[in-house]
């Protein structure tokens, strides 16, 4: 039982990761692919934060009378990764907009067909 509670977080995170991965590789719509990429990204964030947690620990803000803090280093890495993530996501979305303007579609199959029919 302890083993299951101790590893439940990791398994759900892996499930979410694989859900995102499946969306990326199985769907042809570019917007949906980007949503899948974001799900993958958030699940990686969750993996890091899961590793930083300490039982009974407080948030890493030093205050009197608190001895036990969670690990601040993964928080720092993920904090910056989230903002970089939204910037790169918006770059992907901008590419989707340009693809729509050039090809008239955002379905991968149709883009391939248009490319081969040239």
């Amino acid at each position: 039982m302890d083993f299951i509670i101790g590893h439940y977080n990791y398994w759900v995170v892996i499930f979410l990761m694989m859900a995102g991965f499946y969306t990326i590789i199985s769907r042809g719509n570019l917007v949906k692919k980007i949503v899948g990429l974001n799900i993958f990204q958030v699940s990686v964030f969750m993996l890091y934060i899961t590793m930083s947690t300490v039982h009974g620990g407080a948030a890493p803000i030093i205050s009197e009378g608190v001895e036990n803090y969670s690990n601040p280093l993964p928080h720092v890495l993920i904090l910056t990764a989230i903002v970089v993530g939204v910037a790169t996501t918006s770059l992907g979305l901008a590419l989707v907009v340009r693809i729509k303007e050039a090809y008239g579609t955002i379905e991968e199959d149709e883009i391939h067909e248009l490319d081969h029919s040239l």
Binding site: A59, I61, L79, V83, V86, A87, S90, A94, V97
Partner: protein, 139 residues
């Protein structure tokens, strides 16, 4: 959306609070949760709310796009500049301890300036991105 009265009234009273909260998060980041990344995003969310309710043209009059481009570079320059200044004071690059008389004051000043640079860059880049997307549908 520009004619929705309730939305206009509510957002008009919310936006100053959002911006005030963003400033609190920016400058209180040393003592509580917060910092430049969060403050920049919250501040840009306030302006994006304004643009959604009152229209893109009104928002672009509040903060003009050329100003945003300058601000985005200024943020990075502040960050890198703090590093250069600490070189001139005889420390390593981005070693803030030499910026003031004692180490703690120097670190405090350095962290404050660096977070300010981060906040300005994140704020203006988020708005640049939003304005690019929203302006694309304009005839």
């Amino acid at each position: 959306m520009t004619h929705n009265l309730i939305l206009r009234v509510v957002s008009k009273s919310l936006i100053p609070l959002i911006i005030l909260f963003a400033l609190y998060v920016q400058f209180h980041g040393d003592f509580g949760p917060g910092g430049g990344f969060q403050a920049g995003v919250i501040m840009s969310a306030g302006i994006i709310l304004y643009a959604l309710v009152f229209g893109l043209d009104a928002a672009e009059q509040v903060i003009q796009p050329p100003l945003l481009r300058i601000l985005a570079s200024i943020g990075v320059v502040i960050y890198a500049g703090v590093g250069i200044v600490s070189l001139f004071f005889g420390g390593n690059y981005l070693n803030y301890s030499v910026l003031a008389d004692n180490q703690v004051a120097g670190q405090h000043l350095g962290i404050l300036l660096v977070e300010l640079g981060v906040g300005i860059t994140v704020f203006s880049v988020m708005l640049i991105i939003y304005f690019s997307f929203a302006g694309r549908s304009r005839p």
